[in-house]
């Protein structure tokens, strides 16, 4: 897989993210496959952030801890990232700096490229903020990336500032590109031509949270409530941007209110979504129990980050699996599923709404910080509205037309074989919708009577039997007979599939998404496997524990990462060498 890895490092506020995003977009437009990951601290200015962009002629689904080109905007970048340089890579920095140890760069087998970043920015243009543009252009020249693609993005980004701004930036970029083009000799990290087939339609650059938001929109979600929390916030913000599609979006005073709003809206008859990250999700768990008791469909997105407490607020982890599986007091049906990547997140989110309405219960969608904010290029056709619409299933939701036909007095909780009772949209005289959060009878009225209690518990819990049949068994990726099977879940899909791809048949992957109710077919791949290795982004190996509880299979080997940094394919390979 010929690929180029660009990394831009700098302080918060230095434009790392916007530079990276521009470069990424240019590569997507040019027809490359792109994967871009961000690493940032829990602060608004300063510190050290970096943005990493992989561009290739084949799909890329993970980030790497290697760099073909490092653009060092701050003084942390060189000491931190130079040891990770690929052989023959280049480190670009402003020639005016005296803190850069060019010797260290050479020692790492890379080429130091002190460049007139500020000089070009201030002489060709007249503002040193354009130094980033110079650096990107030099990098593009080195990798043989087409200047026109850069120019196109510059035109778009500066058009609202007027033609002069566009021209000035273009001039600066061109100067940088030319400066770089004169220095490509012997530089080996060159882009292959963009893949031909990739021109079938336009591609977009999308992160996990955007995909979830689009999935909710496609599924007809009409009420969203939430409170800001990294890394969940961008789902709330994306959906705020979609209010003109008729979606009620409410920022609430806290996460308790967020889920309560969602339940109120769902009771009103719409598809409702809320979410948070671990700490905010913790505040919602009493309401999961309420949703379970009163059989209120709701989708809760939990975008995991490093815990416990405030923890590593801007870093990734998968530490909340057990918590999500068992959240809420008392016993009630709840569905828990985890997304693999952005495209999967789109369809899975939409499916969550179907499951929530079919089984009239809370559905938790687990994501993680890494997947939520790393960007991947996908054809726009990959997120297919028609496919979502074709699957929409509101279960036994009674809209007014259906209520009109009701013959018997309506009871919200009538017993039924599958445990599901018709759920009326309130407002119609034929169906007053009445429910109490105490144990209740078929009409929703409070009763403590034992026979009714037993029947109601059975009715509610029976819904899990139906849901069970719809749960997806784990995906087995790679050769069926591989000597070693990795076992993973959720957002590590991209990394782990890349590990399998690189392993030349030595590994395969058993990857779980639907976690509760536990899917039929959930144990067979484990039983068929040779050596099992759980690979998780947490300390305790929560999936492995869950699998033992559900299947009895114990997974003896664990590769666990809990430093807040997402695992890379290379790191996983190294760990596997020690085990296998």
């Amino acid at each position: 897989m010929p690929e180029v890895i660009y990394t831009i490092g700098g302080a918060a506020g230095q434009g790392v993210e916007s530079s990276g995003a521009g470069l990424a977009k240019a590569h997507v437009r040019a027809g490359y496959h792109v994967f871009a990951a961000q690493d940032y601290e829990s602060r608004i200015r300063g510190g050290h952030n970096f943005y990493q962009l992989r561009a290739s002629d084949e799909p890329v689904h993970a980030h790497a801890r290697h760099h073909s080109i490092l653009i060092a905007l701050d003084d942390v970048s060189v000491p931190q990232h130079v040891p990770e340089m690929r052989a023959g890579g280049a480190v670009i920095y402003d020639a005016g700096r005296d803190d850069v140890d060019a010797g260290a760069i050479a020692d790492a087998g890379a080429r130091a490229v002190p460049a007139p970043l500020i000089e070009i920015a201030t002489t060709v243009g007249n503002d040193k903020v354009m130094a980033n543009t110079v650096a990107l252009s030099i990098a593009s020249a080195l990798t043989n990336f087409d200047f026109d693609a850069i120019a196109q993005i510059i035109r778009e980004n500066f058009s609202r500032k007027g033609g002069a701004a566009v021209e000035e930036n273009l001039a600066v970029a061109r100067a940088g590109y030319e400066w770089g083009a004169e220095r490509v000799d012997g530089f080996s990290h060159r882009l292959p031509p963009p893949p031909a087939g990739n021109g079938a339609g336009p591609s977009m650059l999308i992160h996990g949270n955007q995909a979830v938001a689009l999935g909710a929109i496609a599924a007809g979600c009409k009420a969203v409530s939430g409170y800001p929390m990294t890394p969940w916030s961008t789902i709330l913000e994306e959906l705020t941007g979609a209010r003109d599609l008729g979606i009620v979006v409410q920022q609430t005073e806290d996460e308790i209110a967020a889920i309560a709003f969602a339940l109120g809206a769902s009771w009103g008859g719409v598809r409702a979504l809320t979410g948070s990250s671990g700490g905010g999700f913790a505040l919602m768990v009493e309401h999961l129990s309420l949703a379970g008791m009163n059989e209120v469909p709701v989708v809760i997105v939990e975008v995991q980050r490093g815990g416990p407490a405030t923890g590593l607020a801007t870093r990734t982890e998968q530490p909340d699996l057990h918590f999500a599986l068992h959240a809420g007091h008392g016993e009630f049906p709840m569905i828990v599923t985890a997304l693999k990547d952005a495209v999967d997140g789109f369809y899975r989110t939409a499916r969550c709404f179907n499951l929530a309405e079919q089984y009239q219960c809370p559905v938790i969608l687990l994501s993680d910080l890494f997947t939520s904010n790393s960007l991947v290029s996908v054809p726009t056709s990959a997120l297919d509205l028609e496919a979502v619409l074709a699957e929409i299933d509101r279960g036994k939701t009674l809209t007014y037309d259906a209520i009109e036909e009701l013959a018997e007095p309506y009871g919200r909780y009538v017993f039924s074989e599958d445990g599901i009772s018709p759920r009326a949209v309130p407002g119609h005289p034929n169906a007053l919708v009445h429910g109490m959060s105490d144990e209740h009878d078929e009409f929703g009225g409070i009763t403590e009577e034992a026979t009714n209690r037993i029947a109601m518990m059975r009715k509610r819990m029976r819904k899990l039997e139906g849901a069970h049949t719809q749960m997806e068994p784990p995906t087995v990726y790679g050769p069926a007979e591989a000597p070693v099977s990795l076992v993973g879940w959720g957002g590590t899909w991209g990394v782990l599939t890349e590990v399998v791809d690189r392993s030349e048949g030595r590994f395969n992957l058993i990857h779980y998404t639907d976690l509760q109710p536990f899917p039929a077919g959930g144990v067979e791949p484990l039983e068929r496997a040779n050596t099992l290795v759980a690979v998780e982004q947490n300390f305790t190996g929560q999936l492995a524990q869950h699998l033992r509880a559900q299947t009895g299979v114990e997974i003896p080997n664990r590769i666990l990462k809990y430093d807040g940094r997402h695992m890379t394919p290379g790191w996983v390979m190294e760990q596997l060498e020690e085990i296998a």
Partner: protein, 301 residues
Amino acid sequence: MTTVTPAPSPVTLNDYKPLFAEENTWCAGCGDFGILAALQQALVQLEIAPHRVMVVSGIGCGSKLPDYIRCNGWQTLHGRALPVAQGFRLVQHHMTVLAVTGDGDGLGEGGNHWIHAMRRNVNLTHLVENNQTYGLTKGQTSPTSDPGYISSTTPEGNVEFAINPISVALAAGATFVARGFSGSVKPLRDLIAMAIQHPGYAIVDILQPCVTWNRVEYTYKWFKQRVYDLAEEHDPADRTEAFRRSLEWGDRIPLGVFYREERDTLDAQTTAIQMEPERPVALRELPVSREQFEALKTKLT
């Protein structure tokens, strides 16, 4: 698809009697009976049919009210009636929405939702069944219990300053602020009717004797000797004056409307609602159009 069978007309009190006669579990003489009656009468007076009404409650004695009135209703969690009611209202903005809470429920456990609901001005009516105690859990001190109140958690008498729902409502930006007394059903009915008609968040703080746990003060008799009607002495447009009145407590206790103001409601400012104000969000088609969706994706290319 959204034709609704017209309600039986005229609406009568009988329409609000529970269909599947749940046994009422309130103690004989409980002030909650007066509140229930006043609410039923107000709805009849306003000619609102039961299926157009949604009552959301929390947990407590008073929060069992939805079980005793025939209309849409949900008893939720202790403290959480207000956010549930707001979420409901935003997607069903043609319905009459009431949040019914206890004092412990609405102002203690649910205090945060309360102050934010007020500033948000969602169009709903909040009835506070204010018996100055935690009735259902056996009479512990509540946030509105006056200093000196003796209970299992304050055996030597409560030492905390009581929340004054009227003062706080005035400070937090409520647009309709009133106080009623469950022992005077007719004036209470009228206050509730006004609150329902008010466009925006309307609170009626209802003084409600708990005949089981609060037998010394705050009895029917105690209140009857003290309450008076604000109407003639006070201009409800003046927020500072309303605040001054709200501080009155003891020998004379004012009832009636302390404050009233028209301010845009959240409905009126919610894009999704205003796109098609004649059709509540819950009654609209589910999917977005192909064009809308493609436009969203194009933004990401």
